[in-house]
């Protein structure tokens, strides 16, 4: 702020100021007032200009805030996606872990059933497993009382085109078709040998259809359930043979 120049009274000639002096004084005072007004105007203008800059800054800040908000939303979406993927991986991990957590054939079958029911949401399903002599497939487990005629028999002798195709070529099949009520047939294959199949006939009422995650799980089941079944069978056979041998040795030792 510029201080207005101090104006001293201009002395006139003698005691009374002259008319010219009075006029000069008035002019000077008027000039002083004008300077004050100008300074006030400058201050006001500065304030307005300052406000103008502030508005500009505010506009910039708002734009940055909007950009940050957009970025935050993108990050939130990405985080949600990552969280979802983590959940999927956890599900797959747990399914794999549990399938290989035992060498008991019955427990392996139970795990397959638990995966079908709890993780896939199958209400009706049948587990077919090849018999010990590989002469065909037995109905080893049935859940939800499916009304498919072949599921009622102890052995699967063919007849459902989707099941037959999956057991023959080892490919995952989805239905239903005109000839088959199966929603999905998951062949259980290990080392190019089909040891069985999980046939899903109905989903839970609140599960409308298979979702993307189910395909991963069905793929996983096809491979890991097969190897778990295979390993448990080999182990139980070996354990049986071992017990027989031990009995023989005890007999020989007694004799």
């Amino acid at each position: 702020m510029i201080d207005p120049p101090l104006l001293a009274d201009t002395p006139g000639d003698g005691d009374a100021p002259t008319r010219g002096g009075r006029d000069a004084m008035a002019t000077l005072r008027r000039a002083q007032q004008l300077v004050r007004d100008a300074q006030a105007a400058i201050e006001e203008a500065s304030r307005v200009v300052g406000q103008g800059n502030g508005a500009g800054l505010a506009d910039g800040a708002e734009a940055r805030l909007a950009a940050a908000e957009t970025e935050r939303q993108e990050l939130t979406e990405r985080l949600a996606e990552v969280e979802h993927q983590v959940g999927r991986l956890m599900t797959l991990y747990v399914a794999t872990y549990q399938l290989h957590a035992t060498l008991d054939p019955v427990e392996v079958q139970t795990t397959i059933a638990e995966i079908a029911l709890n993780l896939i949401g199958a209400e009706q399903f049948v587990l077919l497993l090849s018999d010990e002599e590989d002469k065909g497939y037995e109905v080893r487990l049935m859940h939800g009382e499916p009304d498919t005629p072949w599921a009622q028999a102890p052995r699967y002798t063919g007849g459902d085109p989707l099941v037959d195709a999956a057991l023959t070529d080892g490919g995952l099949r989805f239905g239903p078709t005109e000839q088959s009520p199966a929603l999905a047939v998951v062949p259980l294959r290990v080392q190019d040998v089909t040891v069985g199949a999980l046939v899903i006939l109905k989903l839970l009422a609140h599960k409308l259809d298979f979702v993307k995650e189910d395909h991963d799980l069905l793929d996983l089941l096809g491979a890991h359930a097969a190897s778990a079944v295979f390993a448990s069978r080999v182990y139980s056979k070996t354990a049986r043979k071992l017990r027989t041998l031990e009995s023989l040795i005890r007999l020989v030792n007694k004799g």
Binding site: E83, M90, E114, L117, G121, A205
Partner: protein, 129 residues
């Protein structure tokens, strides 16, 4: 998942697979496991300080709803929040579960995010209280 840190959760569920699932999904919470309603009550009498119960419905020996009825009838346990997680997903099943005193009902198969959302919501309510 720090919301469940230092928290004790009783899981009453007959599937070993789902027990494993909770173990992985709810880490680092301390889980107390029971495989049917009766065992669940035993575990509750041994550990009445659980912060939350996750409960299945279809179980051998004692169903989830019977278990829930007993918990709600016991004043010392009645305030423990119970989440039902079940394959029984009809509207009437959900209504029955909630009327029996569960704070939330989650249908199987469930997504991890959905479970965590419910658990975190209960945690935040408990913390606020």
């Amino acid at each position: 998942m720090n919301a469940v840190k230092n928290r004790k959760i009783l899981v009453v569920e007959d599937s070993r697979l789902i027990h494993k699932m909770y173990e992985v999904m709810l880490r680092p919470a301390t889980l107390v496991s029971a495989f049917d309603g009766r065992e669940g009550l035993d575990k509750l009498s041994q550990s009445p300080d659980v912060d939350m119960i996750i409960l299945d419905i279809n179980m051998p020996k004692m169903t989830g709803l019977d278990f829930l009825g007993q918990v709600k009838a016991t004043p010392a346990l009645a305030k423990i929040p119970v989440i039902i997680v079940s394959t029984e997903g009809k509207e009437e099943d959900v209504a029955r579960g909630l009327q029996s005193g569960a704070v939330a009902y989650l249908r199987k198969p469930f997504q991890r995010e959905d479970l965590l959302k419910i658990v975190n919501h209960i945690e935040s309510k408990q913390t606020a209280a």
